[in-house]
């Protein structure tokens, strides 16, 4: 009797394990079936264009976020209109740790969402060429050339559609500017310093800065003095201390800090300092445009935001602004790329696109949509030809974490002169 019971228990354990494996297989088979049958079914329909089509999308948003709600509503509307059902999996911000494995293993994944830079590089071999479908809808006419050109340059073809364009520069609280009587945004470093002094004289803190963005802040300044190529060269081979422009750039930041233009406690722990712009105690922050929605969420009400490009310096070399994007791509093994593309268009244009702008506080992915938070951001992006990168090739250096920390230290006032700082950079580069 004991043997029989033992045998039954062992069998039950083995069966439960087998069931675990089996369910994955059956799920795969189930999810693959509609796609396989799509070609045959899509023509025999009751009038709906993609009846029976099933698409799988991995999103970088988390369930419940305003962007997720807007996209889900778009999926429901798309299904009602075309008959195609979209299974959206809300993977959250760490979606980049999952996409490669899914693409390389051939998992059923039709649409995915990530940084357009990563889509253009790391995922490029597994992405669908969207050029023809984009041309058919006149995508170039209502999108940003800077992103499309980059995508084509990196992947060899248009392999992503921008969903969330981003622009970097200086974001300011218009109410604080008004209270200080500042009517013109500064174009040059000298004008910027004057604005900072005016703000300080009026009892406000000029510039908020969290340690997390200290590198981006200083990189903007370096780019003005040196340009990205020269920075890359110095990062690779050293020679910072011998470069007059680099020394000047660092010295200007040291002088800026010594003049007391940084907010109290800055560089602070993210997001403490940037929140001060929303609270109205600090006036400006150097970041990308998502800072506006982060700060709005932190203070619980929309801030009266303004934006201007990082000011030019004396002998300015490069006036470009940072531009980046979270984009949507179609995997190369997608069996219904046209349906997937149509759904992507549903997300980035029309009602959903406008909702992402209005509720998500983002820049319109479709240039025909109405701007919500940052007036002029669409025009700025449309006029951008060569966008500045997020800290460029310095990111790839062996000592990048040390360089980033040194940039925080620069804003902490740890270096007496620009030459001292550049000499330290030379110990980390080359």
């Amino acid at each position: 009797m004991k043997k029989i019971v033992a045998l039954l228990m062992a069998s039950a354990m083995a069966a439960s394990l087998a069931a675990c494996g089996g369910s994955a297989q059956s799920s795969e088979a189930t999810s693959a079936a509609p796609a396989e049958s799509t070609a045959a079914e899509s023509t025999a329909t009751d009038g709906k264009k993609y009846e029976g089509v099933e698409l799988t999308m991995w999103s970088m948003w988390s369930a419940g976020e305003v962007q997720a709600n807007a996209i889900q509503a778009a999926a429901d509307a798309f299904e009602a209109e075309t008959g195609a059902h979209v299974n959206i999996e809300w993977k959250g911000r760490d979606v980049n740790t999952l996409i490669s494995a899914a693409l390389e293993s051939g998992e059923k994944l039709d649409i995915f969402e990530d940084d357009y830079n990563r889509i253009g590089h790391a995922y490029a071999p597994y992405t669908y060429d969207l050029t023809e479908m984009a041309n058919a809808v006149g995508y170039d006419d209502f999108s940003y050339a800077c992103f499309n050109d980059q995508s084509k340059e990196w992947a060899g073809y248009l392999n992503s559609i921008v969903e969330q364009p981003q622009i970097g520069g200086i974001f300011y609280n218009k109410d604080v500017f008004d209270a200080c009587g500042i009517t013109e945004t500064p174009k040059t470093w000298d004008e910027f310093l004057t604005v900072c002094q005016t703000i300080k004289d009026n009892g406000y803190e000029p510039l908020a800065l969290d340690g997390a963005y200290a590198n981006f802040n200083f990189y903007n300044h370096l780019v003005r003095h040196l340009g990205e190529d020269a920075i890359a060269e110095l990062g690779k081979n050293g020679g910072w201390a011998d470069n007059e422009a680099a020394v000047t750039a660092a010295q200007e930041i040291i002088d800026f800090v010594n003049a007391g233009y940084l907010a109290e406690g800055a560089p602070d722990a993210y997001p403490a300092s940037q929140t001060k712009v929303g609270l109205g105690t600090a006036a400006m922050v150097v970041c990308a445009n998502y800072v506006t929605s982060e700060v709005d969420a932190a203070v619980g009400e929309p801030v009266n935001w303004g934006f201007f490009n990082y000011p030019e310096v004396e002998g300015n070399v490069d006036a470009s602004a940072y531009a980046g994007a979270n984009s949507l791509a179609i995997s190369s093994n997608c069996e219904n790329p046209q349906a997937a593309f149509d759904f992507i268009m549903t997300i980035v244009t029309g009602t959903c696109g406008q909702e992402l702008v209005d509720k998500g506080g983002q820049i319109p992915a479709d240039t025909r949509l109405k701007e919500s938070v940052l007036a002029g951001s669409v025009e700025t992006l449309k006029n951008t030809t060569t966008p500045m990168s997020w800290c460029g090739s310095l990111n790839t250096l062996d000592g990048w974490s040390s360089i980033k920390s040194s940039m925080i230290e620069l804003f902490e006032g740890k270096y007496a002169t620009g030459a001292d700082y550049c000499a330290y950079l030379d110990t980390l580069c080359g």
């Binding site: 033992a6 403490a272 974490s401 040390s402």
Partner: protein, 297 residues
Amino acid sequence: MKKNKTMIFLFILPTVLCLLFMYVYPVVRTVIMSFFKVESLTATTSTWSFYGLQNYFKILRNAGFISSMKNMVMIWLVGGIITMCLSMLMAVILTSGIRGAKFFKAAIYMPNIISAVALATMWIQYVFNYDYGLLNQIVKAFGGENVRWLGTDLIFWAMMIAFIFGSVGYYMLIFISGIEGIPQDLYEAATIDGANIFDRFFQITLPLLKGVIRTCVTFWSINATTFFLWTKMFSPINTETATIVPVVYLYDTVFGGKGVVERDAGAGAAVGVVLTLIIIAVYVITNLILKDSDLEY
């Protein structure tokens, strides 16, 4: 009871299979991968190219990896000593028959049932905050000026304090279970012989807890080596030298980061292998130092 080998085999088989597929296979694959140039973690083996020891040379020459190792050693050694001493102290006090021992046990253990993310947020936003954090309120009450606790100089120690706060309760419970297993007769006999509280601790409690201490050191070594979340919370967005640890370096190497699209799964695998060897070495050394004795609890 008569042993039935077939039954034993059948019962063990599912576990052995799980172990082989879910543990041994990834470990073997990671070790092999560390000798190859591999960009993506899940790239097919046909795309791998033999790289010899280059991945190991690469990480050992990398300033970020060296910083991460230094930080890990500091967490293991300094954090370990402080955590073990505090845990042992709490355990001894709470097993000495003081009133309210149950309450204090629960209170000290509580950080372990709270999400580490919530715990880290609490420390960052309410304790170390520059403007309204608890510590700066205390500093100001004594007439001092605000301190930048999360600046580059102090952020590592701030992170360490928060981590220790969350760890003490766990090790305290392990020590308590060990101490409670020691027969009271020994203490009574020692007291009759004139031993004071320190004599009893150093001559009875500590020697008899060797096995427990060995277990705690091994657990702590694993915790220090796999340290990840606290760094991510204290340095969100960008990894910084002061807080980087090997697992975060591994993560950044394998998956890239903000503005970084380069990935190197081979180098990441090498980091994983190095960390595994460190844990094995610590385990072996701990066993050599704290040898098994006939009597321990």
